[in-house]
Structure formats: C-alpha cells, structure tokens
Symmetry: C2
C-alpha cells in the first residue's frame, strides 16, 4: 500500500529536515520531508486517505501517519508537522472550519486547527476557504488554498494579481490580489466527466480505439461547441456525445475526448467571462491534466502564463513559516 | 408483473376493437385496445420492456406480447397491431431505421418496419426521427415522434406551427410546421438529475425532509440561477447544490428541488432561445412532470398553451390510419 519514490535510510533522509508536510485528502496521504530552505528531501505516499484509514476514529489518523512517517518522526523527535486537505474537514482528524475570503497564508495560520497524537506531537492543520459574496452562491475549497499559497511561494510575481486555475474533480478558479485569495468558484468538471462516462447512456458507445489525431480532433470539437454555446446549452449539447457516435461522425474511441472537450470548454467559457482580463492566468495541477487545459486555454486565446505541478509542499512550507514553525 | 387497470372479460373488451397499439420502450410494454373512433377500450402494461424480456431473442418479444395481450388477439384474430418505441431500435424486435426531418405521420408510415410472429401476425413498427442540420450536431428520437403525432391528432390547431416540449429522461423540444416535425433537440435533464443525485457528491447532503414551501422556494431558486446564467455556467452553478446545503441556506430535503430547478431552468433557457416566439408551446408527458415544467415555463414568462398526458395511443392510431390499417 505504501509508495516510496525516495528511500534513503531514515537517518540520512531526516538529516537536515525542518518540516514534515502532509497533503492528506480523501483517497491518499502524501508526506514530504522538507529542508529549511523548502526543498524536498524525501516524499512518500500511502492510500490512507481519510476515507480509507487503517482503524476507525482518531486512532486511524495516528496509525496511518505512523505507518508512513514513523521512522522520520523517530529520527527527528521535534520535527514540526503541518497538514492540509480533508484531514481538516468535519470528517477529518480535527476540524479546521472554513475561513472567509479574502484570505492570505497568514490568515490560514491564524485559523489553523491543531491535532495532537497520544504521544503529544502536534499537527497544525490548514483551514479551507469560504467565498460567500452577496451576489452569488457560496463556494468552498479545502486543500486548494494551500496549493495556491504554494504557487505564490514559487512565483511571487503572481501575488500582486492573478487568476489561478486548479483543474481536477472539482476545478477551482481563484482570484488572487495582493497575496490574498479574494474569490473563487468551483466547476465540477472532473466529477461530471467520470460520472457521465460511467453512469449515463453517453458511456455506452465509448468503446474501441481511435487514432491520436481523431481523439485530438474530437477534443477540439467539444471545445468549439462549448465556445459557440449560449446560456443553458450544456444540458442539450451533452447528447451529441451519443449522436456523434450513433451517426458515425466520431469513432467510439474518441467520444470521451469530445465529452472532455465539451466539459472543459464550458468550464473555460464561464471562467474566462469572470476572470480579470488584465491578470495573468496560471495552471496548477497534475501535468497531464494541465497539458489538456493548456491546449484548451490556447484554443480560447488565453494560454496560461505559467503552469505548476503539485505546489502543496511549497504551500505547506509557507503555511509552516506563517505559523512560526521554521526557526 | 402485469398491471390491468381495466379488466372486462376479453370478449367484452375486444368487442368493437379496431387496433392494438403498443408503446414498447426500454423498461415497459404498454398495450392499448382502441376502437374505430380512436377511443381507448382497454389498457394494460407489463414490465417486459425490450431490456427485460422473458426470453432471449425474437421469442422474447413474442412471448411478452402473448402474455400481455394473447386473449385480445385470440378474440379478434385479424386485429391490426402497431408499435412504437425502442422495439424498433437496433436492439428491438425489428429495426425501423431513423427517418430524416422533416417528417409527418405519413412519413413514419412509409418507412415502417414489420415484425412477424411465428403464427404470421404482422406488427407495424414506427421508425424514429433523425434531425441532422448543417449548422448543429445531429439528434435522434424514438417513441416521441408518435407522441407528437398523438398531440397533433388531439389538437389539430397545433399542426400549423408549434413547439412541443416532451419532458423526461431525455427531454425533447420539437418544432412542428404544417403537421411535420421540422427539427428538434434533446436535453438530458432527467438522466442528469438521476445520475447527479445518485452518483456524485451532490447527493450526499440530500437527506431529511423539508416543508413544501421550502421545496418550492428551492426549485424557484434553481430556476432563477439558470435564468441569470451566462454561457458555460452550468458546470459551475451545479456545485451550489452542495454549498447551499453546507452553509445551511437550504435544508437537505430541498436540495434535490434546487438541482431540479437548475436543470429544468437550463433546459428552458436553451429551449426558449431556439423556439419560435410566435408559435404556441405545448407540453406532452406525465402529469406530475408537466406540472413541474409548467411552473418553470410560467416563471420564464412562457407558459404552455396546452398540456397533454400520454398521447402515444392517439399517435399510434394516427400511424395505423396512415398505414391504411383502419378500414
């Protein structure tokens, strides 16, 4: 169950460690051993997300943490530990209630929750963010606020003003001004793609293979349909994922790409309409997904100015510094 | 398994029968015994939809038909039989390929397929419709073309020009001109509602009860969000189904109503943008669903001029007449 991409001896790994940073979500726990300058000394991951703990209750969190990082913690007994993600939700180790926008990393530190192990070790957990404007529905994030802090840590030039796009199951489009998240919105793009493919009639014709060029063309067609859409059109355009297959316009192996283009395209149409046109746009997320989004953003004439891989370690480092845990 | 809302003796029921009309879909088989003037003498239904037949292959269709209507067929040996719905699909008894728009009921009769039982009884099956315009994605219907024919049979004034809305799993918005269906589009509203409620994070908070007034207000809020939406906004607005619950703005028992309003609202925003503003609008479908759509259409300032319950029997009667089966 445990993935160890980097396995020096615990003592060697922990030598020079200044922080243990945990990105603890629903389906996985990722641990990063960071040096005083923020660089990653070692990284590990396990499947002990908060919905897949080895034991029920608080003991499950402690056991999962010990299983993945016990040797590191033993080697550096006073190593500070910080965490972000669903571990701070109502179903987590200890709840860190949502903080209202605007919020900087210092705000996250002010409102951090603290879990404590039986042995007395403290884990500072970052709160999520709530955006609750008068003129729109409320929105929430948990985990992405740390990724945003990490992007700003890695590229301070974005702190003045930027739109950060974090694609995923629940994509986030966040507005940053003066190093604070001033607002954001969630598009359920990834979850819609997975659910529509697995649980609706649209998935039935998604079979067989298609050439790379056919798949790219299908993705582009989905983007183009989204770009040409008017209000309300999504629930109607969706059915083309079936009819393009039924009528032989697209091979079964390219229908998922059409659906992906349609979904990502709708997310981008809506997101760009709300984004500050003068602010640079940056993508933060898994490289393959960011590549797909960069293709889409370019098709819409707004390519991202910067693309970041996982920025959670850098964000947790900034969070720990704001907490005063890095001496 | 068999529902018999009307159970006179077979002889009495069949006396005066001029047509056996079958509405044979994926999950049910509905049979109507019609008189020469089109009125319904008797109706029965079974769960032997084409995906739930009692036997595999062609025998399954024959067995299901015999189980539900064998006594009627025995009582009137030369009774004509017509059918519509998925029974004419590639997975049906005999395929009746899609016919291109524009199409009138006479077009359906021209392109009917014929299935034949082992005993030599012929069943005329209506084809579905294909709408394949140069400037939009292709679309298909199967079964609704007969419901539309039925609405025009019951209200000939709509034949000149009308927009027919058939809400359901896959809602259809059809344009009728001079008794022909000239175009249509499909919104996956019903399937989206079911799938999003059952298989995404949005269903998690849908629990408990809510007062009728709270549910109505939630439905209206969903409609209003749809009405205020811009291009692409659906994938983003959807998440409010969760956040309105998380923040206590809506009780868990009203979240499904919000989602329903949002989905139906998007369908209507898109549908009305394409509908001829001068043509009357009519709803065709199950009464409870039509009531919900009528509330929504009224909120958008375009109430339906007419509302029809199941028009399949009337449509099958018109189809049989066009086939010359009614002497």
């Amino acid at each position: 169950m445990t993935v160890q991409p980097d396995t020096p001896s615990p003592d060697a790994a922990a030598r020079g460690a200044a922080l243990l940073a945990l990105d603890w979500g629903t389906s996985s726990l990722r641990a990063f051993l960071l040096a005083a300058d923020g660089h990653i000394i070692a990284a590990r991951a396990s499947r002990h997300g908060i919905q897949a703990l080895p034991l029920p209750g608080t003991a499950g969190f402690e056991t999962a943490l010990e299983a993945l990082t016990g040797d590191w913690l033993a080697a550096v007994p006073r190593l500070p530990v910080v965490a972000c993600g669903m571990v701070g939700s109502a179903q987590g180790w200890r709840e860190a209630p949502y903080v209202r926008c605007p919020a900087a990393v210092a705000t996250l530190a002010d409102k951090a929750a603290v879990a404590e192990t039986a042995a007395g070790r403290r884990i500072a957990i970052a709160p999520g963010l709530l955006f609750d404007p008068a003129d729109a529905r409320p929105d929430v994030m948990r985990g992405e606020e740390i990724q945003i802090a990490g992007a700003l840590e890695q590229a301070p030039r974005l702190a003045a003003r930027a739109t950060l796009v974090l694609p995923g199951t629940h994509s986030k489009w966040a507005t940053v001004e003066e190093a604070r998240v001033t607002g954001f919105s969630t598009a359920m793009t990834g979850e819609l793609f997975a659910t529509l493919s697995a649980h609706t009639i649209l998935g039935r014709l998604m079979e067989g293979t298609a050439a790379a060029a056919e798949r790219e063309a299908a993705f582009a067609a989905g983007l183009e349909d989204a770009r040409a859409s008017g209000p309300g059109d999504f629930v109607r355009q969706l059915f083309a994922t079936r009819t393009l297959g039924l009528t032989g316009r697209l091979p079964g192996g390219a229908l998922a790409d059409y659906l992906s283009g349609l979904l990502i395209g709708h997310e981008i149409v809506s997101g760009l309409a709300r984004a500050d046109a003068r602010a640079p746009l940056a993508l933060v997320g898994a490289p393959a997904l960011c590549t797909r989004y960069q293709t889409a953003l370019s098709a819409f004439g707004r390519p991202a100015a910067a693309v970041f891989d996982n920025t959670a370690p850098a964000g947790l480092f900034a969070f720990a510094r704001a907490l005063g845990l890095l001496s």
